[in-house]
């Protein structure tokens, strides 16, 4: 089981190969890609930043939780940091299990928890030249509900 941050492009073939296991009847992987639109705006690129020590610690905890909850054989996740272009892979999650129910559920759990808990931040750059840190708006459209700043 491992989580790491990567400054270099992710290699999904190598990552999947690292999960090879004759006990596994199922391997489920997830790839997060940089898409060209978000919240109605055209994205030109984005960047990810992380607090490495705690990102690794919290992500490792998430993988450990998944392994216990879902009867997995193994789980691996890698998250990019740095500048990414449209279409690049931002995150890769792979899990193996004897059976597919656990593998599907665990993969979903890992990416969902990672997005909610791991100290990694995303800054989107738009074709207009503007940019913003995602989830950090304090007023206007898509600001957190209940805010009255």
């Amino acid at each position: 089981m491992s989580f790491r941050l990567s400054s270099d492009a992710l290699d999904p073939i190598a990552l999947k190969a690292s999960l090879a296991n004759l006990k596994a009847g199922a391997c489920v992987t997830f790839e997060g890609w940089v898409r060209n639109r978000n919240e109605g705006q055209a994205v030109s690129s984005l960047e990810y930043e992380a607090y490495p020590e705690l990102a690794e610690k919290e992500a490792s905890r998430i993988l450990g939780e998944a392994r216990v909850k879902f009867d997995l054989l193994d789980a691996v996740a890698v998250h990019r940091v740095g500048q990414l272009q449209l279409g690049e892979m931002a995150v890769w999650v792979g899990v193996t299990a004897e059976h597919r129910d656990a593998a599907f559920a665990a993969c979903r759990y890992i990416i969902d928890e990672t997005k909610a808990r791991v100290p990694i931040w995303k800054k989107e750059h738009y074709i207009t030249g503007q940019s913003q840190w995602i989830n950090c708006a304090t007023r206007g459209d898509f600001a957190a509900e209940g805010r009255n700043n």
């Binding site: 992380a50 607090y51 705690l54 998250h79 100290p119 995602i134 989830n135 304090t138 700043n149």
Partner: protein, 80 residues
């Protein structure tokens, strides 16, 4: 008064204008400290949108601040 190391990331780093600094403060908790910093530097995010780490681990905003503590202010995360 405790002397603390504060590290900022992402939007907070941009608003503060630096990645980390040493701060001497009368603040007794992380919450009091953030109130002080936010007022001084006009941070846009209220404390309940942020999380705190002390010594490399998530911590409650109510944790008493010890001299030499290393704090990290964690803006809303957006990984994946």
């Amino acid at each position: 008064m405790p002397k603390l190391q504060i590290t900022y990331y992402a939007v907070l780093r941009e608003q503060r204008g630096l990645s980390s600094e040493e701060v001497t403060t009368a603040a007794r908790t992380g919450r009091e400290l953030y109130a002080e910093l936010a007022a001084r530097h006009q941070f846009s995010l209220p404390v309940d949108r942020l999380r705190l780490a002390i010594g490399g681990e998530f911590a409650s905003w109510e944790t008493p601040l010890a001299d030499g503590a290393k704090l990290v202010l964690i803006p809303p995360v957006a990984g994946g």
